[in-house]
Amino acid sequence: MSGKRTMRRLEPAAISGVMSREVANFRTYWRGTTFSSVLEPLVYLLAFGLGLSATLVDEVEGVPYIQFVGTGMVATAVIFSSALPAMFGTFVKHRFQNTYEAILAAPVDVEELVSAEMLWIATRSAVYGCVPLVVTFFWGLDPEPGMLLVPLFAFVTALGFAGFGVAMAATVAKIDQFNYVTALFVTPLFLVAGTFFPIDGLPEGVQIVAQFNPLHQLVELVRGGAFGFEPVDIARFAFLVAFAFATWRVGIRQMRKRLID
């Protein structure tokens, strides 16, 4: 018998192997996903940005309203392309397709599996998250060097929401229960992010709560990239990194409980 092999935690080969499965699958459905990921923010942008700026709001914080919404829509695109695919995709692969049973029979552990799923979703989301920004260029938003950091901001935020989605998928008993998750978490986070209106017009208590909303921090960082950063943006980015780390660990813990008897 040959010598014993040793294997480490978080092996890049295991993570890239799981991601290669996602890429192979993505090649079969990228058209539909990309279409909806481009069209949805465009529709929101046209509805809110053009609709409201033509009737009610001309400028917000010295910025044309459509550019205010366009920069904020990055966060909307990120949450919809990370939390929802993580929730539904993870649930379906685990409960209906038995995909994880096959992957975990290979030399891949739950930590590597969850990490790979999060990295893949965040990579996609970082690309889709930039779409609203690019679209807003056509409404007069000037490209700025700070915008080069937007994919990084979107990636880190999407990591956090991917971890959140994985944790939720491992926690709910039935797929219908995602309705509660969407109503209680996703929609409020999306609405109180400062995308469509500045949160400083909200009651003080809501403003304080909004500071703990990762989407709000992302909105502020994207606007920082477009209209000028502030020193507090370092703290905002640190908050997003902490959010991603926390949901990564919670996602792993919940998935381990679900996958290992």
Partner: protein
């Protein structure tokens, strides 16, 4: 060294002991059939061996690795063919294989894919999506996927459950080829014929533990003797015959609409009726006597 060594393994789910003091050694190079009725603990045993279930008690060693601590390197050297088809149906045949070659850290992914396509006889379908394949092709692909890294040990979890006879025979041929190459195989099944055809040794599992083990012919000789007499008659007569045979010290088991008097060569005058159909004893007789369950 044995490929698999399990000693005193216990695994409970709430009040249910799925595996209850399991002792099992699988020497290298043999095919061991783990035969048992539904709920005997076969699938839980397979999950314990792949690290997807953690034992409450006992020792588990696979290919020299202690589980669960060294489960990951153990999994790198074993292949698993699951009971349920979990192929990626929208992805091509070759991509399904390539993904698992990467997961198993195979160095030459292209060569491994080609070898598996040969094995599964799917070279001309390599660029087709899996959902375009027939049921038999999918099963062959599933088996080939479990062998993509040329494992020393293969776990086959009910490899032909729910398949039609033709596909089942195709898979038996592939598993036979694998055996002939000296790969160690642990195969759980509740099909008697599958165990008889493929297994060098059979371990009968019931209520979470092994209740008997040996070569099929030895198990038959030990538990069922040489002959079994099957009697087809109305229920009242079957009940009378059963009482008569049992009082003569013979073992009787249900056999669908009939009863089977096991070890009928030892029967005295009158214990076996003249209209009985006498046949050679089988592993099915052993299975039903030991587990009390009807075989499939």
């Amino acid at each position: 060294m044995a490929a698999i060594e399990l000693s005193g393994v216990v695994k409970s789910f709430g009040p249910i002991k799925a595996v209850n003091g399991l002792d099992l050694d699988v020497p290298e190079g043999i095919c061991l059939g783990l035969l048992g009725p539904n709920g005997a603990g076969k699938s839980t045993t397979m999950r314990l061996l792949t690290g997807q279930a953690i034992a409450d008690a006992g020792q588990l060693r696979v290919l020299g690795y202690e589980l669960p601590g060294e489960s990951k390197p153990a999994r790198a050297e074993m292949g698993v063919v699951p009971q349920l088809d979990n192929l990626d149906v929208d992805v091509t045949v070759e991509d399904n294989l390539a993904v698992y070659a990467r997961l198993y850290r195979v160095k030459d992914v292209g060569a491994a894919v080609d070898r598996c396509l040969d094995l599964a006889r799917l070279h001309d379908r390599r660029r087709d999506a899996v959902d375009k394949l027939s049921g038999g092709m999918r099963r062959r692909l599933l088996l080939a996927r479990g062998l993509v890294h040329e494992p020393r040990l293969v776990l086959l979890d009910e490899p032909t459950v729910g398949l039609d006879p033709q596909i089942r025979t195709e898979l038996w041929t592939l598993i036979g080829d694998l055996k002939s190459r000296g790969t160690t195989i642990l195969m759980s099944t509740h099909y008697i014929e599958e165990a008889e055809r493929l297994a060098d040794e059979v371990a009968v599992m019931h209520q979470g533990r092994i209740i008997s083990r040996g070569r099929p012919a030895d198990l038959i000789a030990e538990h069922a003797g040489r002959q079994t007499a099957e009697v087809y008659a109305p229920p009242e007569r079957l009940a009378e015959l059963r009482v008569s045979a049992e009082s003569a010290g013979l073992r009787v088991r249900p056999a669908g609409p009939a009863i089977a008097i096991v070890g009928s060569e030892r029967a005295g005058d009158g214990a076996v009726p003249e209209d009985a159909v006498v046949r050679a004893a089988t592993l099915e007789d052993v299975f039903v006597i030991l587990t009390g369950e009807e075989a499939e």
